[in-house]
Point group: C2
Chain length 292, copies 2
């Protein structure tokens, strides 16, 4: 269009998209362009503000590498990542929550009741629960990937002092859907704030802390995969997670214990407990994958 | 918030912004988060689509360097850059249009009637006109920066065969607001389509062509600066500029001429014209900068 105006721009943009555009892509672009254009018009965005936005994206590109993706972080602190989790959470299933940038492939298997704590500092945490479906039926044979920070707030792949797979494991739910292991309490940590996202946090008086959490990916044949994380009810950052990951149903309770009899006999670390230790009982609910 | 939902997310995000947030930044973020969140909800954006968006931004970061900014290009092909120009165009002044990535500082001065064509291939183009204000008064002493492609569609800084400042100049309007020079007709060219933006263009059946144009920046004390470009009425891409830069008032007419008497005597290249040559008469209208 030789005479495109602010009022006709979004339609002109859509008219540019040819018949080879997939219907879904056309819909996504229609919504994206519509919202971007409305943002510019509603704000009367200045050239200086546009240049600042380009500068933020350019700096984000410069700081992004294989170990750190500033665009994911930007999506996280704007609440976009969490909203994608929310709109994709299956009805009556456990809420999804951010995968985060610290997951790595290849975590070793851990048997039912196995010990992930090993030589790690920190109080022992017994984590157990049941994987079930939305009708309450136990799901056995589900693969449960777990990863978490060490007591210093660092994940193994960011801490040269930890083995690559420290505090990472792949469990399997047993015949009644149960899973269980011993580990340590994860620690709160900050998202990286030395880049352009940090600049945004500082300009808005926001802190970079996340409440401590255990990450989980649960997969089982016939069910939607669940990527989530669970948070202790006593964490000081529970109400101000920098990346909006907390949901009501993802809050776990740490129960302080001194009774060794609470821990089932087949748990590997049962005889090495120091008091007090803590326990968490957290069930995961999977939705049937009906292909929809 | 420990129980943030899709419905409360935007408010939660805003509540995170502390009192040190400037009112303008708070407003921009309110609008940005609101539109981004609405986009995710209205589209039911999937995790795979979110990952694709992150991949596009990551690749854009990888291909961006000092000579090429893929984020600017993304803004351009989505119509965002042009919309920023539109909302910042001053009433009754000449429309703004994209600065583009090919402007470089330090173009040499060219006297009134000077010749920019020199040894360049292509038909001679006489460009002249008047700089005036919105009330019709001539503006003398305005600085007019001009840059354009050579006959091969390349800007000097992308073409090792051209001098760094080939077809770039800084003129000054004379006492009656007039400016004038001889140059060549610029050529249409394509925006770079070998990166993630090109992937988007290909997926939507869009071509990367821009209609040929002359870039201008006009500055004068007491007036709003004008960044714009002007397009010939006979360009084949006038109705399908890949970056939405064409406005009705930015279209110029090439007039084919053989009469050497049309060119004022003081024009440097007057006696070197080959026929036919072309002329363009284009006036720029500046808005008074009243500090608003």
């Amino acid at each position: 269009m030789r005479d495109v105006t602010a009022e006709t721009l979004t339609k002109t943009f859509l008219d540019y998209c040819g018949p080879e555009t997939s219907p879904r892509l056309r819909f996504l672009l229609e919504q994206l362009a519509g919202h971007l254009h409305a943002f510019v018009m509603d704000t009367g965005l200045t050239h200086a503000e546009w240049r600042k936005a380009i500068e933020i994206l350019t700096k984000a590109g410069e700081i992004t590498d294989d170990e750190r993706n500033e665009f994911v972080l930007l999506s996280d602190v704007l609440g976009v990542s969490s909203l994608v989790d929310m709109v994709n959470t299956k009805a009556e299933a456990t809420s999804s929550s951010v995968l985060g940038p610290f997951h790595i492939l290849g975590a070793p298997d851990l048997a039912y009741g196995g010990d992930l704590k090993r030589d790690n500092d920190g109080a022992t945490l017994v984590v157990k629960g049941v994987v079930r479906d939305t009708e309450g039926n136990p799901v056995s044979g589900a693969a449960i990937e777990l990863w978490q920070t060490a007591d210093n707030g660092l994940y193994s792949n960011l801490d040269p002092k930890q083995d690559r797979y420290n505090l990472r494991a792949r469990l399997t739910s047993v015949e009644n859907g149960e899973y269980g292991l011993t580990t340590i309490r994860p620690a709160p940590y900050t998202v990286p704030d030395d880049g352009p996202v940090g600049e945004l946090l500082h300009a808005t008086g926001r802190h970079p802390w996340r409440p401590s959490h255990l990450h989980f990916i649960i997969t089982a044949p016939g069910y939607h995969s669940l990527v989530t994380e669970v948070f202790p009810s006593d964490d000081p950052y529970l109400d101000e997670d920098a990346v909006f990951g907390v949901r009501g149903d993802l809050i776990m309770e740490y129960v302080e214990r001194t009774d060794p009899g609470f821990v089932p006999e087949e748990y590997e670390a049962r005889d090495k407990l120091t008091n007090p230790y803590y326990s968490v009982d957290f069930d995961f609910v999977l939705a049937v994958d009906d292909g929809a």
